[in-house]
């Protein structure tokens, strides 16, 4: 195996990697959507005044956050999804596992954002006669979420970097493509380097997107 860089190999492997990258992006996009929505659900349920709701949700969130993603991937793949009639769908499994796993982190992020809102905002909302849900939707969350967009963005990047774990349940994502190309052509330098480059490009793009969103939705304090 030669250690000399060969641009010919790069040209050869790139289409395969792009195909894998599309799968990776699908997994991360789906996982992000689930993590952003489900995390909000956890955050709001944990702040509910009903103890019979907050306790089990808190336990579930702790449980998911304290166990490895790889274990959860296998668990979803072999136990949960088959029970839901979705056996043998690695990508769906991966999306759900990534989304649920990261929802436990985003829920903490949302919580810190909500905690950061001054009590006077709640009081003004109560004084107007808003319901709890109306207060969240129109007063609290529009102020609580924008400041935590950068942190949410970091978790999207972290999820992106965790996505090669999906190879364990046979999702043919970008790393899997690189490895199978390497095995076929006895050449790993260019495929793996290019995988690194692609990850770098995607991470910095999503960093920029995060920054843009942050500025777009920034709220000037009173």
């Amino acid at each position: 195996m030669s250690a000399r860089w060969d641009w010919g190999v790069v040209a050869q492997v790139l289409p395969h990697l792009i195909e894998g990258l599309v799968v990776t992006l699908q997994a991360v996009a789906g996982g992000t959507a689930i993590a952003l929505v489900l995390g909000m659900v956890w955050a709001l349920l944990r702040r509910s005044s009903r103890r019979w709701l907050t306790a089990p949700v808190g336990l579930l969130v702790e449980l998911v956050r304290s166990t490895p993603l790889l274990v959860q991937l296998y668990f979803f793949y072999y136990s949960v999804l088959p029970a839901l009639g979705l056996a043998g769908q690695p990508l769906v499994t991966g999306v759900v596992a990534l989304g649920v796993h990261y929802s436990t982190y985003t829920s903490e992020v949302y919580r810190s954002g909500i905690d950061g809102i001054a009590r006077g905002q709640w009081e003004a909302a109560w004084a107007l006669g808003l319901t709890r849900w109306q207060a969240y939707r129109h007063v609290i969350l529009p102020q609580a979420v924008p400041p935590v967009i950068p942190v949410l963005g970091n978790y999207v990047i972290a999820m992106f970097k965790d996505s090669p774990l999906l190879a364990a349940i046979a999702v043919v994502e970008v790393l899997t493509r690189a490895l199978s190309f390497g095995a076929e052509h006895f050449r790993y330098l260019e495929p793996l380097t290019m995988v690194g480059v692609l990850y770098l490009v995607m991470s910095s793009l999503s960093g920029r997107a995060t920054r843009w969103l942050e500025l777009r939705y920034a709220v000037t304090k009173e």
């Binding site: 001054a118 006077g120 905002q121 009081e123 003004a124 109560w126 004084a127 107007l128 006669g129 808003l130 319901t131 709890r132 109306q134 129109h138 007063v139 529009p142 102020q143 709220v219 000037t220 304090k221 009173e222």
Partner: protein, 256 residues
């Protein structure tokens, strides 16, 4: 024979409230008639603001009863403890203007005012905004409708706060030291506005204030709070000219 009009619109009976170990209200009794403007004065820590916060149900009393137009704030008609829906119903009667404005910083002045009519009264957004626009006009801010709170001066913010409370057409307006966050030159304008609105509307007002001149001019009755109780109350002239209690005299002397 007593008619409904004789029932005070606000009645607080034996209300006690402590924050942690610190007792703030110690058996407070206070009644307010419909249409009356009552100024609540007293040293800081005497529980003035707490009275308003308890009326708005932002805090719950430790003991005693609070009745708003005969409705028990913390007990439902069926005798069960108040839930969120019951409190919302009680709060419909009330409007509140805050010392620190508490405007919604992410919304324009117009949306700050139109949010209540839209969400609570169920008006369509366009209607809510047109009602809100009329109120901004009344408080002299027609040209600031699209401005966000950060772009407004303190006095302008407080005018938005007043419009936001009044657009809901409350029976009782609670004003919590609404000028203490303002620059001195802005105070008079805001107080004049309140005075003017009070005379136009048949609204009941509870005003917590440090401004004795304002209490004297605008109030029908002045209530002096001391150590969590009503120590003395009466028409402004009597309280300011001939207070009967020594503590009141001391307080008025200090604020002179």
């Amino acid at each position: 024979m007593a008619s409904d009009d004789d029932e005070p619109i606000v009645r607080m009976e034996g209300v006690e409230k402590a924050f942690g170990d610190v007792p703030v209200l110690r058996g407070l009794d206070l009644s307010v008639r419909r249409g009356e403007t009552v100024a609540v004065i007293g040293t800081s820590g005497s529980g003035k603001s707490t009275v308003l916060r308890l009326l708005m149900a932002l805090d719950a009393p430790d003991a005693g009863r609070i009745l708003l137009g005969g409705m028990d704030l913390w007990t439902r008609p069926d005798g069960k403890p108040a839930d969120e829906a019951h409190l919302r119903k009680a709060r419909e009667k009330l409007g509140m203007v805050f010392q620190h404005f508490n405007l919604f910083p992410h919304l324009s002045a117009l949306r700050n005012v139109s949010l209540g009519p839209e969400l609570v009264k169920g008006l369509k957004r366009r209607e809510a905004e047109s009602v809100a626009g009329r109120w901004l006009e009344r408080v002299g801010l027609a040209d600031k409708a699209e401005a966000h709170p950060a772009e407004l001066s303190g006095g302008q913010k407080q005018r938005v706060g007043i419009a936001r409370a009044l657009v809901m057409e409350p029976e009782i307006l609670l004003l919590d030291e609404i000028t203490s966050g303002l620059d001195p030159e802005l105070v008079d304008g805001v107080l004049e506005l309140v005075h003017e609105l009070a005379e136009q509307q048949s609204i009941t007002m509870l005003v917590v204030t440090h401004r004795m001149a304002f209490a004297r001019e605008a109030a029908d009755r002045v209530v002096f709070l001391d150590a969590g109780r009503v120590l003395e109350q009466g028409p402004p002239d009597q309280i300011f000219e001939a207070p009967t209690e020594e503590r009141t005299r001391e307080f008025l002397h200090l604020t002179r």
